[in-house]
């Protein structure tokens, strides 16, 4: 087991034995007296100096969260204080969310990190208080006179260390915001604090590395154009081996009707590549006139986890490329935070996209009026529409070897409200589907624990704790309905849920929705298919002499 992760039995023992407010044990100390302790597994490596140089970010240096001295720049208090002031002027949300909280506690036990760590500072209300306490001391009037009355405190280096820890134990999943009577969104606060921390060079390399890659090569993984083509072509070969069908994606092709953009994890990472194969099969099946760009080759946007300016900078490539290629509209692959950005930010930041047309499905003629301004359609909407119009030849029995459940990704769930489309697709491509308990799905879904750029190996301890509520809900359907397949529409999920399942629920595999679509699609001219896209034998389709994998 990784040195960044305790044994499952040890962790369970800690859950049973360690007192915590989650279990109703009173805390002997106020939250602001609790120490901040960095240890193996609870901090991400800091941004490399060359990465910071490349991005023009402040205070590049070699440092680690466990260092005593974080080498903050001279005058850092003023930088933070000015930074906060200017953001309060630019965002009503920030100002309002700092002012409105009544500490009613509705959010307290809604955070997956709180449920997995029992750490009081992971209650969303306290997470926001970490900033609020400093804000109150800096700004307002009467409460300054009544110091101690409203929990104000000074901005010290200890506070910065605390911010770094707890604003990286928030995945910006917005579950707390659903329950808040004022809709206070901790994600907004986390986004702002992370921006502030960047001003003084307090950062996370697992976020900044991909950001820098994406800026340079067009995708988080830093895949250069020729390699991207090679990778996808190798998937094309795999598809031909498995199905006998030669799909023919094109790259950077001008005049295509649709530009297809998906997270680069789908091109490079296991099990994302199988989802990619699903897309390729689908597009071939319906004869879509599409192209893939090597320049805008990233659907995801780690800028969202860095700063709103960086988010805009990385996102700008999508429209820029769509314009250059002269496509009519953009189709987006399965991804969570990508869709938060596309749905809630893109047209505001980088629009208006008046050089594109309102998306119309060339197969069904459906006008996607819900995407009239952004001109970008989610693949689950697109596929659901195809199935609804009976344009796909599907054999759901080909997924009979899988007993599935569906994980709503936080961003698509609470930043968009896409619940039915993926379920509709799933039900049509697969015969066995069981929902997890009601309090853990749809708008109440639990994060995978590794979202918002926390997917680092060295962060495994926190990730496995943060993912515990999700894993626990999967365990429920695993025990009750023998579920063995967790289906998602998020690339970060596809990367982060496999280790989570391995830790908490061995035997459960993670699938992208369109991988199952790819399995079920009956392609024209295909050979007899005996295995799914992962080369696992499909139940009821076995070849007589085939040996089982």
């Amino acid at each position: 087991m990784s040195k960044y992760l305790p044994d499952l039995s040890e962790l369970k023992k800690e859950f049973d034995e360690k007192p915590s407010v989650l279990k109703g044990d009173y805390s002997p100390r106020e939250w602001w007296d609790l120490p901040v302790e960095y240890r193996d597994g609870n901090w991400c490596f800091s941004g490399k100096p060359e990465v910071l140089d490349d991005l023009g970010f402040a205070n590049p240096r070699k440092w680690a969260a466990t260092d005593q001295d974080w080498q903050l720049p001279a005058g850092w208090q003023k930088i933070i204080s000015d930074g906060l002031q200017s953001r309060l002027k630019k965002y009503r949300s920030l100002k309002l969310f700092l002012d409105a909280c009544v500490r009613c506690g509705a959010c307290a036990d809604k955070c997956h990190f709180f449920l997995g760590t029992g750490d009081p500072k992971n209650m969303p209300v306290v997470r926001a208080e970490l900033l609020r306490s400093v804000y109150r001391n800096d700004f307002p009037l009467v409460e300054k006179i009544l110091k101690g009355f409203s929990g104000s405190r000074k901005l010290t280096e200890e506070v910065i260390k605390e911010w770094h820890m707890y604003f990286h134990q928030c995945t910006e999943c917005r579950r707390c915001s659903v329950f808040c009577p004022f809709g206070i969104d901790t994600a907004e606060i986390t986004i702002m604090v992370r921006e502030l921390l960047h001003l003084i060079g307090v950062n996370n390399n697992w976020i900044l590395g991909p950001v820098s890659n994406c800026n340079r090569t067009g995708n988080h993984l830093g895949i250069e154009p020729h390699t991207l083509v090679q990778n996808i072509n190798s998937l094309v070969e795999d598809i031909e081996d498995l199905t006998g069908v030669a799909v023919e994606p094109t790259f950077n092709r001008k005049g295509a009707e649709v530009l297809f953009i998906t997270p680069s994890g789908d091109v490079f990472g296991d099990p994302g590549v199988y989802t990619m194969m699903g897309y390729l099969l689908l597009f071939h099946h319906i004869g879509l006139d599409y192209t893939i760009s090597t320049y805008a080759s990233e659907g995801g946007n780690f800028g969202l986890f860095t700063s709103n300016d960086m988010m805009k900078k990385l996102n700008a490539k999508m429209y820029h490329e769509a314009k250059r290629l002269g496509v009519k509209w953009i189709l987006g692959g399965e991804c969570g935070h990508m869709w938060r950005v596309v749905h809630q930010y893109m047209s505001t930041m980088n629009g208006p996209a008046d050089f594109l047309e309102q998306p119309v499905s060339p197969i069904t003629g459906t006008r996607f009026s819900n995407a009239a301004a952004t001109k970008m359609v989610h693949i689950a909407e697109f596929t659901a529409d195809l199935i609804h119009h009976k344009k796909l030849k599907l054999d759901p029995k080909r997924n009979d070897h899988l007993r599935t459940t569906f994980h709503d990704s936080c961003n698509v769930a609470r930043g968009m409200g896409m619940f039915e489309e993926p379920r509709y697709v799933l039900r049509n491509v697969c015969n066995s589907f069981h929902e997890m308990p009601e309090n853990t799905i749809r708008e109440k879904t639990f994060c995978c624990g590794s979202g918002s750029g926390l997917n680092a190996e060295e962060y495994m301890d926190i990730r496995m704790r943060g993912g515990f509520p999700r894993a626990h809900a999967v365990r429920y359907v695993k025990e009750r309905h023998k579920v063995d397949s967790l289906v998602t529409i998020c690339a970060i999920d596809r990367a982060s849920l496999p280790p989570l399942m391995k830790y908490w629920n061995p035997g459960v595999s993670v699938y992208g929705l369109h991988e199952l679509v790819g399995n079920a699609l009956v392609m024209q001219g295909e050979k007899k298919r005996t295995t799914d896209l992962r080369e696992n034998t499909m139940a009821g389709f076995e070849d007589g002499g085939d040996d089982e994998e």
Partner: protein, 331 residues
């Protein structure tokens, strides 16, 4: 315990102040005229200023928290009020929040049991307590409007009539007096007995609860125990609403305690978390349509950001792209 006892002590001292002031120092003009006027000026202007201060800040992005199915394909049932796409749907969503505390109604309680077992139960107590508290408070305020008009307005008569439905005392007992005290008790007790609540509560959370409780208790004493002669009180209130600076008549000192504590509440309001009363209307995660893909939301300060263009990219990778048979703009 300091954070509970301090606000309690402050409220007690505040209650004592006008009693001594009026009873022993003859400061009825201060407590009956000057302080109420000041307090309500501060409340009115303070509240408005805070609202204006929020409203003049831009909302750069459309960021509703979506709690139900979005509007998408025609045949998919849209959950209008959890995920509005039209302004009228937003209005309904907001009304549900403001009048019925929709989001609190969702509340669950998570429990961690043996062997890493999590359980979630429905937990509507906070919703119920909060609702009873706020509605009772509103009814009580409206009921008090009888003191501010020569002719008692119809709605006040009606509310009073309904509120005194259980005619079990003389003068008739108001249900809301009991309800609000019960609700405050619940709200305080949960802050004290729930480990999470005890940790997150600050003095500023207990103070308004104690203050409002004190106002209610004194009000109840005035009505049922002391049986205050209300004619001079009504005279004084009418003078106040007519912006008269005449000295108040002969009124018992306990009334000044009631009035002063209300004034303190008014003074405290705009500077404290009580401003949630205004904030709830402005929350960008609740009061916006989830239609940013359909209709472009404009950010007034949309930052001017330089991004890496395609031609810069091609300049860096042209040879590699050509080798991979990728089309290029420049040879």
């Amino acid at each position: 315990m300091k954070k509970v006892l301090m606000p309690l002590l402050i409220v007690l001292l505040l209650a004592l102040l006008p009693y001594i002031g009026v009873q022993y120092a003859g400061l009825s003009y201060l407590f009956g005229v000057i302080i109420p006027y000041t307090a309500f000026a501060v409340l009115t202007f303070g509240f408005l200023l805070r609202l204006v201060d929020w409203i003049r800040r831009p909302v750069p992005f459309r960021i509703p928290t979506t709690c139900g199915q979005e509007k998408s394909l025609d045949w998919i049932k849209h959950n209008r009020f959890e995920n509005p796409s039209h302004s009228w749907e937003v209005v309904v969503r907001m009304l549900l929040e403001v009048l019925f505390f929709r989001s609190l109604f969702r509340n669950t309680k998570a429990e961690l049991h043996k062997d890493a077992n999590l359980a979630y139960g429905s937990h509507k107590w906070l919703w119920l307590g909060g609702l009873v508290f706020h509605w009772s408070f509103l009814v009580i305020v409206l009921r008090h409007s009888r003191f501010f008009f020569v002719m008692i307005p119809g709605f006040a008569e009606f509310i009073t009539h309904v509120d005194s439905f259980f005619e079990i005392t003389l003068p008739a007992f108001y249900t809301t007096d009991a309800l609000i005290l019960a609700a405050i008790t619940f709200l305080v007790v949960r802050r004290l007995t729930d480990a999470k609540m005890r940790l997150i509560s600050l003095q500023t959370d207990y103070f308004p609860l104690f203050l409002i409780a004190a106002i209610v208790v004194v009000g109840v004493l005035l009505r049922y125990v002391v049986r205050l002669n209300i004619m001079p009180v009504k005279d004084q209130m009418l003078r106040l609403v007519n912006f008269s600076f005449d000295a108040p008549g002969e009124i018992g000192a306990l009334f000044y305690v009631h009035l002063f504590l209300v004034s303190v509440l008014a003074l405290y309001f705009p500077f404290s978390k009580l401003m949630h009363a205004g904030a709830i209307f402005l929350s960008p995660t609740r009061n916006l349509c989830n239609n940013s893909r359909q209709k472009r939301h404009v950010n007034p300060w949309n930052a001017d950001i330089k991004f890496r263009t395609y031609s810069e990219y091609e300049d860096d990778y042209r040879e590699k792209m050509k080798k991979a048979n990728l089309p290029v703009e420049k040879e």
